[in-house]
Symmetry: C2
Subunit: 345 residues, 2 copies
């Protein structure tokens, strides 16, 4: 770190999350003295503009993290598996948005508003600690942000969630694919699926990731396991169905929660209104509830359609929408770095 700020590295700088990282850094005061964007060989030398300066894309190679204070990994599991240890060896703090390290018992899995104390403990541990923090799956981030205040006040007995996930969760190429398929649909052309497993235009794909022997997808298991870890509730019963839908930005979730204790709805409303990172958008009479088109490009986790679940004693239903690239990945990673940076001072 120099007097001006931190030297940061962004691995996957030209991808969907990497680009969102740049956009988020433009609008937040995280102190940066230098930036090294990493991308695949075909983007080598490509200029990335950040805060008025231009940085050329580099390719990952031994020694490439020298002098880096914070390395953000927004690439594939494979890249994280190969290069995170290199960044750690170079002495950098690593914020890894891949799925590789999330469930390591020793790795902090962090949504700062929800379990930021874990970051505090990590920094306090000093030189002995591994300077690695994992960012959760985007679908998990927005779910735990909404569940945390409910968990603290009422206790969670069971959580059931059905997701409506935009194609941006599968990267920039999937967004292009949806646009191209819709164009083909409009002109009577052939609809081709290359990035996603099936056509997504005017379609729903009830598979994100791969299946286990019991019929659950890896995405569904991530939501279940990561939510338990972040909330510190290793046995919390959770059910999840994850579905890809033909939206470009934001993930939405239909959530039903069984609480341990009786609750008043106005209480829950106040609780969520005051929860950090959460914005209540809930005035059905006025047609106000969270929607993808309104939430895209924004920071909060939006919650609406708050109501009693008529099928349960202490049941609560709600609808959560958040920008999966932003709070679900890029913003959350930067918030992790911000909290660590504050503690390092």
């Amino acid at each position: 770190m120099t007097a001006d700020g931190f030297k940061i590295a962004i691995v996957g700088a030209t991808g969907a999350v990497g680009r969102e990282m740049i956009a988020v850094l433009e609008s937040r005061p995280f102190p940066i003295s230098n930036c090294v964007p990493f991308a695949s060989p075909r983007s080598r030398g490509k200029p990335i503009s950040l805060r008025g300066k231009s940085y050329a894309c580099h390719v990952l190679e031994p020694g490439c993290f020298r002098g880096v204070d914070f390395a953000f990994f927004d690439a594939s599991d494979e890249v994280s598996r190969e290069w995170v240890s290199e960044a750690l060896s170079a002495g950098a703090w690593v914020v890894d948005n891949s799925g590789v390290h999330r469930m390591d018992p020793e790795t902090e899995l962090s949504v700062p508003e929800v379990n930021g104390q874990g970051l505090d403990r990590l920094v306090a541990a000093g030189a002995g600690a591994r300077k690695l923090v994992a960012g959760p799956n985007c679908t998990t981030v927005q779910l735990v942000a909404a569940l945390k205040p409910l968990s603290d006040r009422y206790g969670l007995k069971r959580v059931s969630v059905s997701t409506y996930q935009s194609v941006s969760g599968a990267g920039a190429a999937a967004m292009e694919e949806l646009r191209a398929q819709l164009k083909s649909e409009a002109t009577g052309g052939q609809v081709e699926a290359k990035v996603l497993k099936h056509p997504i235009a005017f379609n729903l794909i009830p598979q994100i990731g791969s299946f286990d022997a019991e019929g659950h997808t890896s995405e569904e298991k991530k939501v279940i396991e990561e939510t338990r870890k972040i909330l510190g509730l290793p046995r919390l019963p959770i059910a999840c169905t994850a579905v890809r839908v033909p939206t470009l930005a934001c993930h939405a979730e239909s959530v039903s929660v069984e609480l341990e204790k009786a609750f008043d709805l106005p209480d829950v409303r106040a609780l969520l209104s005051n929860a950090p990172g959460v914005q209540l958008e809930d005035d059905p009479a006025q047609g106000r509830y969270p929607m993808n088109r309104d939430c895209a490009g924004r920071d909060p986790v939006y919650v609406g359609r708050l109501r009693r679940d008529p099928s349960l004693d202490h049941g609560l239903q709600f609808w959560v929408v958040s920008d999966n690239l932003r709070k679900g990945a890029a913003l959350n990673a930067i918030q992790i770095a911000e909290r660590i940076a504050l503690l390092l001072r």
Copy 2:
């Protein structure tokens, strides 16, 4: 009825469901001697082709159902409220797909594969019975088709469903609107919402129908109340979140069911495979599960993603897709008429 078959009337013949009625009648052996299509005044005289004959659209007026054996109502609640009694007075059997009469305690609400015995009783009652049968909400039809065999064998303790409903559920104009909005999106134009409350291109609208004081929508309440009525389980706990998604055809549902008894998955699989009107499409390892693009224009209610709900003792999760205009409305109405016609012979 003549020796050739029945005189039928289709109210709303130029609408999304009306057009599907014609398509379904083309492929089924329901005996028709004559057809009177009814539409709004601006479609008066418009020719409707059915089984090689052309029928001009009429406008509803007193006496217009004279001689009609079966009158299918596929128009608005307002039209049904005004004209169903006229059709009944003329002696016709009425199959009403509107929401007006569904919850009348005296009105049969029918999905023939599920509770067709009600139709049998109605016909057996003879001259004294009101010859009115209601077709359920499209979202209900596909849900009860999948629940019925589970209910019979294992008993239902609780049902929770999140829906993914195509714009065709809001009629042909909503389909046009989605296409127009996507075109605007592709060309950088203005996205306008006139038919639906909000833009639906690349968006999700968690409101179908209007809200009650508790925050549930009329669509959600229809699913809850109609499912209970059709399954004959007036106190069944059901939770529903109904969401409009940017697909053109078919509704999809993420369903979690808590059963009364323990179950084996292979048993459930066999049960659903043999259930009338249901087709199991469930081979996740091969990427096979029900999807809108595959199910559109087809008769069955498709069920897949069958698995244990890990958060419940006797919990089952699955994914249901069916063509909302076809089995959800047009086909179901014709199946009702077919069953009645068989019994009348």
